[in-house]
Symmetry: D2
Subunit: 103 residues, 4 copies
């Protein structure tokens, strides 16, 4: 329980519980929130060439915006996993193992 | 570096490097991969009522499918953060702190 | 009412009504369906270079798949506009006019 | 060519050509634009109950925002179809015919 994934999950859960957001944080809504947030980095990168999208190129302002958008996707993804009772670390490892057999 | 987020990030990086996928794993493409995968749980939940989308309701088969889709979003999100040099744990904590001031 | 947008909208409405899908076709769910379908062409193109994604390059099979995915997005988008009482032709023209003032 | 879908497609094409946006409007980028815009109505509806998302409920301001977001998805979808040489009216009718055999 000292693991960082668990710590972040608990932080996010407490944040939601303090605000009584349980009624909003149902799987359907959280899946929407993950997808809505995931659309934002796509919009940032849509007109850039592959080269322009690379690490060195974006302005500091854009790099900060993208970092915050990644955080938003991560927050809702951890919350979705928490609400569904999914151990995200375990399923990531399972999926990597499965991918090892495919590629 | 023994933290689970770092361990998963390294696992995913090694997986990609072994297959020489560096040329595909640029920020623009990875943002697309995150969004493409994030569309899948949305599609799973789209016709369900909020109640039906809750933890107890889905069939085992659907629960497994959703867990794997969450894993796919997480894998590409960790890879995107890694390629951009974003410390995902730090930005999540920063974003939660920021949200504390807003809500 | 002989306009093609209206004809398609009516076809889609009849299709849904015949199957008694009104209870599923609420704005929240249809917005999810649009986004879920919109994730599919993104997944098709995610590892392609800009050049590879251009008209001449995809295989016939991929071109057909993408055409069907575009159709799916269009079907749900027309249905969403219909259910919300949005005149899609009018709002597109309004948005283009607005964009003319911006760019 | 007097059909509204063709008229809108031509308007959008002229808008892009006047601004010399051909180099940005490649299939990969336009698929991203469709998905990025499709994430916006999802974000509007994510915390609403199905009932709240229905036609009568949103405020005028929200209804206007959603209408403009629908327009944005439609504009990029027509542009994507145009660039790929996809006859969107034909593929929608084909897809509806196909769906008739499935449901």
């Amino acid at each position: 329980m000292t693991d960082e994934i668990n710590s972040l999950t608990e932080l996010i859960r407490e944040f939601a519980e303090k605000r009584d957001w349980g009624k909003f944080h149902i799987p359907k809504n959280l899946a929407m929130a993950v997808a809505g947030e995931a659309g934002e980095p796509v919009a940032e990168f849509q007109w850039l060439t592959p080269e322009e999208s690379s690490k060195e190129s974006p302005s500091d302002e854009m790099a900060h915006a993208i970092a915050m958008e990644i955080a938003d996707v991560q927050i809702y993804l951890l919350r979705l996993a928490d609400v569904l009772g999914v151990d995200i670390s375990k399923v990531v490892r399972d999926k990597i193992d499965y991918n090892e057999t495919r590629y």
